[in-house]
Amino acid sequence: MILAKFYPFIPEPGLMLWTLIIFSLFWFLMSKFAFKPIAGALKERENDIQKALDEAKMARQEMANLKSEHQALLEQAKEERSQILVQAKEAAEVYRKEQKEKADSEFRTKVDSALEEIENRKMEAMITIKNDAGQMALDIAEKILNKELKGDPAQESFVKGLVDEIKLS
């Protein structure tokens, strides 16, 4: 039994018929119960994965947005703080100036009133001194005149005139 008849190479109707039946069934049943459900599930899973990736990307994006918002808020707050600080400084400056001016004016008023007081006292003192000096001069002159011009009314009025002149000056 050598190469005379190579059996596997000879097409047999029986084997062909069975192959036809079995492969048709195989194709039909495997498609319906295995390949289509598996292919569907794989596609679904791919879509799920894609969706999950997209969602993650969106979440990241959102987070980045939130972060930048926070940043902006922070920046704003900082700016506000510095503004407030500046304003506070200015206010303090103004207040100090005001206080200073107030103090200065009070001081000046006090000094002025003191000076006035001094002037008044000086005038008083001058008046007193003039009066005293006139009296003294009058006394002195009276004594002198009493001795030399006693009884001379002319002399007396003259002296009196002189004393008034002193008073007036």
Binding site: I2, F6, F9, M16, W18, F23, W27, M30, S31, I38
Partner: protein, 464 residues
């Protein structure tokens, strides 16, 4: 099946033989599956496997089916000295080629070990009507031969044959022995099987085949639609694949939203590979429509290739190495290509646009031939690759017996030679099995991707 015993036990037993150093002629004929007639009682009158050895009178006898009658008297008495049926002649030398060719044949029963066969259903159709039975009804006379003829059908070497002669009785009758010789018909040397019954020699018909006599077959007196070894293997492969994929498919619903596990993660990358590397590149947005067919072809072929690689029952069947099987698969691809072919496809076949008229006249027959050559190459490639693999494996294992150089199947050979043969057979067989494992996947993939290419070309949208 021969590979089954040889691969697993041959090497093991040979080692045992070396240890025990007993009469290893016994081992030899256990392993090379020679036809040991002592096991079923009759002397060396049973079979003749050597067409070189027998004299040419044998040829002459065989041309005349009734010739046996003339010699009936002495033929029956002195048990086969070639006078009738050629049952007697026995050449025992080990023939690795014969072993290999028998291994890749289909059969009506599934041999497990020795003379233990799994019976398979036989569905036979002849002019006498339809007959259904189990192959075990033929009885077991050893070597795959049946003890009985049932309604003219007999079992010879695991294959159902039919007595061509009208004179043979119907019903169940016990037969003597089977003969085998070579005859020359139309310049071709063809085997002729005979059965000896009541001292007469009866010619046997083999089942009808569709080669029209070109390959030595042809329409005979009966058709065999049995569940043969190959059909059994196909059904088994179907069952295994279906259960595997059903388990995986269910896991997608029960384990929804979870990572794949077990069988699911074994099959998923393969399915994805076919989808992304075969279906999508060739079909684009139509991939979903053709993916189930591509997956079916791929897993059917790969599954059967792998089952064929298992060297013992229920493996070893040479399914994808049978032209009948690959032809049907190729026809599927051809039919799908043809019925899905769009205007653009037919235009390119019948009247190729964009070339001068005289070129079109040449191109059209070429394109039409191409339509048929494409599936033919699919059929032949798969068949040749798998068959060649099976043959080479058997031959490599046979090195043990070839180097052993036993003068016959029943005498001890040369121990040194056997050891040398074994030393060569083990690495070569291991290498070959590894290659075949690769080939199993490659051929499945090639059939799948080429089918995709052919169908893809037919459904492709016009792009110019």
């Amino acid at each position: 099946m021969r590979k089954a015993i040889i691969c697993t036990f041959g090497i093991l037993f040979l080692t045992l033989a070396l240890l025990t150093a007993q009469d290893h002629s016994h081992h030899n004929h256990d392993h090379n599956h020679s036809h040991d007639h002592s096991s079923h009682g009759h002397d060396h009158s049973g079979h003749n496997h050597d067409h070189h050895g027998h004299d040419h009178s044998g040829h002459n006898h065989s041309h005349d089916g009734h010739h046996g009658h003339n010699h009936a008297s002495h033929g029956h008495d002195d048990h086969g000295h070639g006078h009738h049926c050629d049952c007697g002649k026995h050449d025992d030398s080990f023939d690795a080629g014969a072993v290999a060719f028998h291994h890749i044949m289909d059969a009506n029963q599934f041999r497990v070990f020795g003379d233990i066969n799994v019976p398979l259903p036989c569905f036979l159709k002849s002019d006498d009507g339809f007959k259904a039975m189990l192959s075990s009804s033929f009885g077991n006379a050893g070597h795959g031969n049946g003890k009985y003829a049932i309604d003219k059908y007999v079992m010879v070497h695991g294959t159902v044959m039919r007595v061509a002669d009208e004179g043979f009785p119907m019903g169940k009758v016990e037969v003597n022995c089977y003969g085998h010789e070579e005859i020359v018909k139309d310049g071709k040397e063809l085997p002729l099987f005979t059965v000896s019954y009541q001292g007469k020699c009866w010619k046997l018909h083999e089942k009808s085949t569709l080669d029209g006599g070109i390959l030595g077959g042809g329409i005979t007196s009966f058709y065999d639609f049995s569940i043969t070894k190959n059909v059994f293997t196909m059904l088994l492969g179907f069952l295994i694949l279906f259960l595997l994929f059903r388990t995986a498919a269910k896991a997608y619903t029960t384990r929804k939203g979870m990572a794949p596990k077990g069988i699911q993660s074994l099959l998923e990358p393969v399915v994805l590979f076919i989808r992304d590397e075969v279906a999508v590149p060739f079909f684009g947005h139509k991939a979903d429509k053709f993916l189930p067919y591509l997956l079916s072809v791929f897993f059917f072929i790969v599954g059967l290739n792998l089952i064929g690689q298992i060297p013992f029952f229920p493996g070893s069947g040479n399914v994808t190495g049978s032209l009948s099987v690959t032809a049907v698969l190729a026809i599927f691809t051809f039919v799908i290509t043809t019925i899905n072919g769009n205007k653009h496809y037919w235009e390119h076949i019948v009247w190729m646009p964009g070339v001068p008229a005289w070129v079109k006249i040449i191109l059209t027959p070429v394109e039409i031939m191409g339509m048929f050559i494409k599936p033919l190459t699919l059929m032949l490639r798969l068949f040749a690759n798998i068959t060649a693999g099976h043959i080479v494996l058997v031959i490599f294992v046979s090195l043990i017996f070839i180097f052993g150089g036993a003068p016959s199947m029943y005498e001890s050979g040369n121990m040194g030679g056997s050891i040398l043969g074994t030393a060569m057979a083990i690495p070569l067989t291991m290498f070959m099995m590894a290659i075949e494992l690769l080939v199993a996947f490659i051929q499945g993939f090639v059939f799948c991707i080429l089918s995709a290419a052919y169908i893809g070309a037919a459904v492709e949208d016009a792009h110019h």
